[in-house]
Symmetry: C2
Subunit: 473 residues, 2 copies
């Protein structure tokens, strides 16, 4: 589908001389082959691809710096590319240019177990990172649905199911190496757990979606593997009851590690996809981390709160195998939901509201969805107030696209009205640019524009994303 909101700025020329210089630097690691360009000109969003002129694979910070200097010399845009799992059109080459693929920079640079930190290259995926950590007794908790790259997760300020306990990329990135728009390399932050040393450049680059610099190394926090883990599911008569159970859980200080809402349609999708037989109703998935005794205590408290809020069919999964099956089913929800409608793509909403407004926000949304002809399963990181409606559309039917965008707009405007945000974890990309202004106001977006313009005056880094520069009118 075409991007619904914006005309793009004109495509910029990609001179042969740049290609020659890149080839001299990278040999066969730069290419203009169609298949490669097509692969790099799209992501998991429903937007039609927009192809880069070329794709380059970098192997080091120094190479990234040289590539950026060359592109700057020829005024050619650069779009950093990790795992390609963005949901918001971040990777589309709206002004052409070079897709800079960092997936081969996928090494663990150093594990510092005593400090609970690891330094990695940006192309490593979250699963590969946890595989590398297996013998340390530590883990990296941030888990978006896809097996995203750590660099991409930094760039979109990603989170996932563990954020209620462990925070998001905002809280878990300690330091970055970043290549600036002129090719200079800076290092932000340190491995110390905290610092008041000047502006928080680390958190400025986290969530900047490739528009301020290219992340070439990241130091992130790790956590001890809990001594004990247990999981549970429970059905609720309504979303309000489920949310009240979660609010009371958090207010009691129960350090729940994960608590996920899945609506009846999403449970059906999960059942089909993962060969499970969960009751197809409003369901909460819980996970508890701690000592043996601590996990038991948390579980008992939550079971009681669930019952007080009308929860039924509370079931424990303490065996690792059962637990993994349950959570792997939850993690595959996005792909399971796509299978509800063959050939569809999903317009995925991502609002996040203060938890006191969550039941109301989901309730009003459900009313909208009932009036829609499209299948719209809902899953939510309910402890954070963040939920996703996967609006399943046939990308060839303009009327379905229009309906999906209309639903999305109503959901976003509702969330913002309730003191929330248009995106809890996916980022703005192309899809939320209009909503960003509604959420923050023109003056705050102006501050973002000033920062962008001061760090990337020629708009070389992932142009056309997050907000429109004034000059692009």
């Amino acid at each position: 589908m075409n991007h619904p909101h914006l005309p793009f700025a004109a495509k910029r020329p990609f001179p042969d001389a740049l290609l020659s210089e890149l080839q001299a630097l990278l040999g066969e690691r730069v290419s203009t082959k169609d298949a490669l360009r097509e692969h790099h000109g799209r992501d998991e969003s429903p937007f039609d691809p927009m192809l880069p002129d070329a794709v380059a694979f970098a192997h080091s910070t120094d190479e990234v710096s040289q590539i950026v200097k060359l592109c700057a010399k020829y005024d050619v845009p650069i779009i950093p590319y990790g795992a390609g799992s963005s949901l918001e059109g971040h990777l589309l080459a709206v002004e052409g240019g070079l897709s800079l693929d960092l997936s081969e920079m996928n090494q663990v640079v150093s594990i510092n177990a005593e400090d609970l930190t690891v330094t990695v290259q940006p192309g490593i995926s979250r699963k590969a990172l946890n595989e590398a950590l297996r013998d340390t007794g530590l883990f990296f908790p941030i888990d978006p649905g896809a097996d995203a790259s750590v660099g991409g997760m930094c760039a979109t300020r990603a989170s996932g199911t563990n954020a209620v306990r462990y925070g998001t990329m905002r809280e878990n990135v300690l330091a970055l190496s970043v290549v600036l728009a002129d090719g200079r390399v800076i290092h932000t932050g340190t491995r110390a757990r905290k610092s008041s040393a000047g502006y928080d450049l680390t958190r400025l680059f986290v969530g900047s979606e490739g528009t301020l610099g290219i992340i070439t190394e990241a130091t992130v926090r790790l956590y001890p593997q809990p001594e004990a883990v247990s999981a549970a599911i429970c059905s609720f008569p309504s979303m309000t009851d489920a949310v009240n159970c979660v609010i009371q859980t958090i207010q009691l200080g129960v350090p729940v590690a994960r608590v996920e809402f899945v609506d009846a349609l999403a449970v059906r999708a999960i059942n089909r996809h993962s060969k499970l037989e969960l009751p197809e109703t409003q369901t909460l998935f819980f996970e508890f981390h701690g000592s043996d005794a601590g996990v038991k205590e948390q579980a008992e408290t939550v079971e009681e709160l669930a019952k007080e809020n009308g929860g039924t069919g509370f079931e424990w999964a303490t065996r690792t195998e059962d637990r993994n099956r349950l959570w792997s089913a939850r993690h595959s929800a996005y792909f399971a939901m796509l299978q509800l409608k063959p050939g569809c793509r999903a317009v995925t909403t991502d609002v996040c509201v203060p938890i006191s407004r969550l039941a109301e926000c989901v309730g009003e949304t459900e009313e909208d969805l009932r009036a829609s002809s499209l299948p719209c399963p809902i899953v939510g990181h309910v402890g954070d107030g963040n939920f996703h409606v996967a609006i399943l559309i046939d990308p060839d039917k303009p009327e379905e696209i229009e309906e999906a965008e209309h639903l999305n707009q109503r959901i976003v405007e509702r969330a913002i009205r309730m003191g929330g945000t248009c995106t809890g974890e996916h980022g703005v990309g192309l899809h939320k640019m209009g909503f960003l202004v509604t959420e923050h106001g023109e003056d705050a977006i102006d501050v973002m524009r000033s920062i962008k313009t001061s760090l990337d005056p020629r708009n070389l880094l992932n142009p056309g994303k997050i907000f429109r520069l004034r000059s692009a009118g």
Copy 2:
């Protein structure tokens, strides 16, 4: 004492016309009285005061905006002022101008107990905030030594003894209202727990020390009062043993709420000041938060680890009264230490290193201190890798100042060499400007300069702090 490093830019003129316009706006809430200017031209740092030309007391965001517009009109600097408890010279009017006192903007705007958030005006102190929260079952954990204002704590990215469990201001500020250098008001963030909606302006202003905007409202996270709290102290044969105990505690995933290192000299100061009889040796103070059973389990685990690392005299304080006495003694450590040397002021170091290097860093520092003629007690937020040496100087003796600065420089350079930071929680102010370049490199400081220049092109907001602008050469 004079600032040891820098010549300042020239003082700027403060026109009578500006004073008249401010008086028309604020009546008696603007003043040029000497006593008031003297009070506002200094802080808790050892630097000689540098007086503002006038002091204004604002009562609303709108007033702050109007004041800033007037100052901008006359090109006069503005220095936001909260509780006056900065340790790094943040409040000195190095180019003259207006001290903008926000202490009368000290209201709680709204408590949202279900969301665990509170919105406050910047002048409220952390103790007053917790007093206002008393009946909610919630608390705000960030606790620098002084009863600082929440606005000032945002501005310096403050932390304190609870950061090991609850994080710092970096993790706990959700949203801000900020008056920009041209008087426009922006709102950053939302009350939602997480967001990927554009650049993280909230965290850009947190830690910007009044140089990018004036914080006029802040929404911060709250936590449930723990069901149970217990505290303990334990003596250790060496810093290395104490640190090893803490590393093992954290690696086991024990969610210790506070763990503080106090050296023998600091214990002596605390004993004298708070009428206690603690053994005057290397000591760790612990605090545990959780359920009754959870606190007991944490405590037993830590007692065992302490014993394995040579800890002796492990003592519990489970009665609220004993616990408060212990922690109030720890909190008054700064003022207790000042009393070790009548009439002294303290040059306070604030380095923070990865915890794996903490024992080595403190050990080498202790060697430096043994060779010094100055009393230098040490306290540390050991779970964060952050420690403070209070170098007690007679501000009238240049040789003591010189020795203190020499010690500080060695400590900072050591910490940076070990992968740490020059300031864990106090901020840069005037005191760490040189070290900031060592820590981040010129190119990263250039990025900070670009941001400053793009948001405050005429350098009106707390000029002369954090870094030198190139133009001030």
